[in-house]
Amino acid sequence: MAVLVLADRSGATVSQPTRSAVAAASQIDGDVHVLVLGGAEAAQAAAKLAGVTKVIQADGPAYEHGLAEPAAALLVALAPNYSHLLAPGSAMGKNIMPRVAALLDVQIITDIAAVEGADTFRRFIYAGNALATVKTADAKKVLTVRAASFDPAPAEGGSAAVEAAPSAEDPAVSSFVGAEIAQSERPELTAARVVVSGGRAMGSAENFHLLEGIADKLGAAIGASRAAVDAGYAPNDHQVGQTGKIVAPELYIAVGISGAIQHLAGMKDSKVIVAINKDEEAPIFQVADYGLVGDLFKILPELEQELG
């Protein structure tokens, strides 16, 4: 039986975490379908993904903003044709998929980090301190995918047909009011090759801008610790960690971040970690490949200059 991936749109295309979910789905079955809510252009982009054999596109005001209630109803209507229903572990996927699972009387498995078989998956628990292998007895599987654990499926290589989704009921119990989504030229945090993150030690929202010059030179996304977000130095969607975003870039630069386990849970799969901290005992140095002990306010301008 085929497997279905719910896509997260990113403008006119699908997000990189969606491509990671497609990669995970391909490990389960060769017949991978993608569901796109709204977004005709994104559906075309999904059709080109390597490994995708069919794209289903759902049009209509109920789907435009990815509201959980109508989206879940649609997935339930499609479910009889699929053995597995997946989504990236993005805010959208995490919002919708547990609802789908409960409607199907299935125990969801969230944030899978590896596929061991059609019914067996691995996932992190306790802020990444333990890795559990779990096997499900449910006939149908509902999963979200930890994007950092799967190399994204190539954006080109497929040539799937796009078809219209069947109509499904709209529970009409919620409505979209508005959104404040920051427009940024920078890469998306979960997809960036380089991430520069600041912590409480940045001291203010103005100082947080010190990271921008460096991020510009490295083509990096900007992240933050929870302490920096709580203090209002950085927006909420910058939070990296157990309860924020999970990133695994080639290079992660942690500036003035102590390295609490909740933060490490979100970045310790990065290929290379650099830590800048004035306290040489800071736990972040235990996971850093390169540590620089010193005052960030002195180091950051030097670093920006050194990067040319």
Partner: protein, 248 residues
Amino acid sequence: MKLLVPVKRVVDYNVKVRVKADGTGVETANVKMSMNPFDEIAVEEAVRLKEKGTVTEIVAVTIGPAQAQEQLRTALAMGADRAILVEAEGAEPLGVAKVLKALVEREQPQLVILGKQAIDDDMNATGQMLAALLGWSQGTYASKVELSADGAKVTREVDGGLETVQLKLPAIVTTDLRLNEPRYASLPNIMKARKKPLETLKAADLGVDLTPRLTVVKVEEPPKRQAGVKVGSVSELVSKLKTEAKVI
């Protein structure tokens, strides 16, 4: 309006958990247990809504071992009016959601506020599952909740920023970190909480089947990262990133 707040007993966030040598789980004997931090935020939000006058009664509930009474007492000390303990071990989110559904049917709240995720299993699922089972609207990852007699306007933390949705009541809300800063219970309130009603039930009393769907095949320590080197200067750092790590 009546409000239900499910709270979970979890290993305290400051505890460094250890994987058991036999690979069956993590060591939870003799470690400090606390209320899941997101649930403290949920209780706080409920209490604030009551202080504003929109909410008249707050019922805290937990599904867990007898010791989970401690977390219910904390919720009562923070301002919940009464509590229900449903004794059960190791219920999965779907099972927890089924128990909560049965309690919702009994208690008839207009709003249920849960944490967005429990910091032990990190499933991030229970609230959405409960919303599905009840056919209610859901506002997950809330950073702001405005409640009126017929609806809830919820600002949600999403990828890229914030989103606002209007929910018809009855509804489910799950809390994110920025919703509020939970209060500490004062000593007099802790004393008062001891006298507030706490009812104990069994899952079977509610007619809920909690047979797990998942089996834990094994639990292991994730691969450990080795600490690297300290560099002496910015120029040494940049040169190592270029020539040794080859990432810039």
